[in-house]
Amino acid sequence: MEVKSALLGSSIVKKYWMALTGLFLCTFLVVHLGGNLILLKGEDARLSFNAYAKFMTTFPLIKAVSYLLYFSILFHAFDGIVLTLQNRAARPVKYYFNKPEANSTWASRNMAFLGTVILIFIVGHMSNFWYKMHFGDIPMDANGNKDLYEVVVTFFKDPSLGIVYVAFYVLCMVALGFHLVHGFASSFQTLGLYHKKYNALIKNLGLVFSVLVPLLFAIIPIFIYIQ
């Protein structure tokens, strides 16, 4: 009975899934960022970016992986919500006075909040770009690919709301950074990878990752806006 219930519902298994989906989403971030960085070439990026977008939406293997990705995002969020609800229930009476900053980082205590911000961002992001790319009525570029580049630029350069979109985007990237700064190293701990020699390495790698990736993401809309 233990093994079966352990695989489905134990507290630790829930954490494994959290760590595994989280790490998988990290690799996705890198791939996604790679594509986005093309946008920094300005107008020259139009054709290559659109070609890249087409490849990403049509190549069978990528398509298959993308379903895994959707599932991971949903499961990461779902699992996170379940964990958070359980954790709240584990302390029905709160402390009258608590001083958590004495023993833990702000990010580590606010993963659910940060995750929610990111989830809201993803929903908006997908309706703005992903939905349009897949189902929207988008003009074609010179190569006959859907001109996603135009969609992106128009979006962020919107004369009245562009600045709001950029600000929101940047803010969400800050949230992502904090989410990653705890989540990255935490997933290794959850998977049992703890070693005096390598802990610092994992932690520093996580720090670099969680600063660099969101930063590069955030530069792009700013770049487009001021261009």
């Binding site: 352990a6 134990s10 507290s11 954790n87 302390r91 580590s108 701990q189 990878l193």
Partner: protein, 247 residues
């Protein structure tokens, strides 16, 4: 020193409870925190009021009986100590000190600052042992050499006093540090490997049944643990558990 104390008072498990303010005068800085509470209680008894109930026994930081959430931290300010080792010189004249019981669904309040931590006992009963009877015919103690590094790590894990500060301090009321300390101690020793798989599954199962929260690796438990039990133990338990569920 003169101090203002805000203490959680709760007549019994079913009472709602509330914070009550008390004044204590002429506190000597060399007093331990619990001796300061003794003074308060003597005062309350003299006035015909109900003294504040709190758990304590050895008063030298080893039995794990004392608890108390003091000014927002388990076992109060200071690291590597239990409440009974906290001395009043850590506070200033005129300070207000807020004293609460451990807060967790799995640790219900019995009275005032006293909680029921029998959930920990039940977790140990689920598998926190090596199944060997007292026969007097076990193998010689030196028959199996144990690498010093493992023996030392097992010892470090075994120093857990079961006070529950990890649960109290964790924002999720998770008992992972406590459970992993016992799992680690026995997993690191050859005698304990025999039942390692079954042990980790059973103990975690019981931990979940008791209503503790999930570990989110905030690391608060390690910081507040009076015995400095390392997060490495949690990682080891995660590893042991993974090996147990997939094999």
């Amino acid at each position: 020193m003169n101090l203002t104390l805000k203490i959680w008072r709760q007549a019994g498990p079913d009472d709602k409870g509330r914070m009550v303010t008390y004044q204590v005068k002429n506190v000597n800085p060399d007093m331990s925190f619990l001796e300061m509470l003794d003074v308060l209680n003597e005062d309350l008894i003299a006035k015909g009021e109900d003294p504040v109930a709190f758990d304590h026994d050895c008063r030298e930081g080893i039995c794990g009986m004392c608890s108390l959430y003091i000014n927002g931290e388990a076992h109060g300010p200071g690291r590597g100590i239990t409440t009974c080792q906290l001395h009043m010189r850590s506070f200033k004249d005129g300070d207000t000190i807020i004293i609460e019981p451990w807060r967790a669904k799995a640790f219900p309040v019995i009275k005032d600052l006293v909680t029921d931590r029998s959930a920990f006992d039940r977790i140990i009963q689920a598998g926190g042992y090596i199944s060997v009877n007292t026969s007097g015919n076990t193998i010689d103690a030196n028959a199996i050499p144990i690498p010093k590094e493992n023996a030392d790590k097992a010892f470090d894990a075994a120093t857990c006093i079961g006070c529950g500060a990890c649960v109290a301090t964790c924002k999720n009321s998770s008992a992972m540090l406590f459970v992993s300390a016992k799992v680690s101690q026995l997993a690191l020793l050859p005698q304990g490997r025999v039942e390692a798989k079954e042990r980790v599954l059973k103990m975690v199962h019981q931990m979940d049944l008791e209503g503790f929260g999930n570990c989110t690796n905030t690391g608060a438990c390690e910081v507040e643990c009076p015995k400095g039990i390392s997060l490495e133990n949690i990682a080891r338990m995660n590893r042991e558990y993974l090996a147990a569920v997939i094999s």
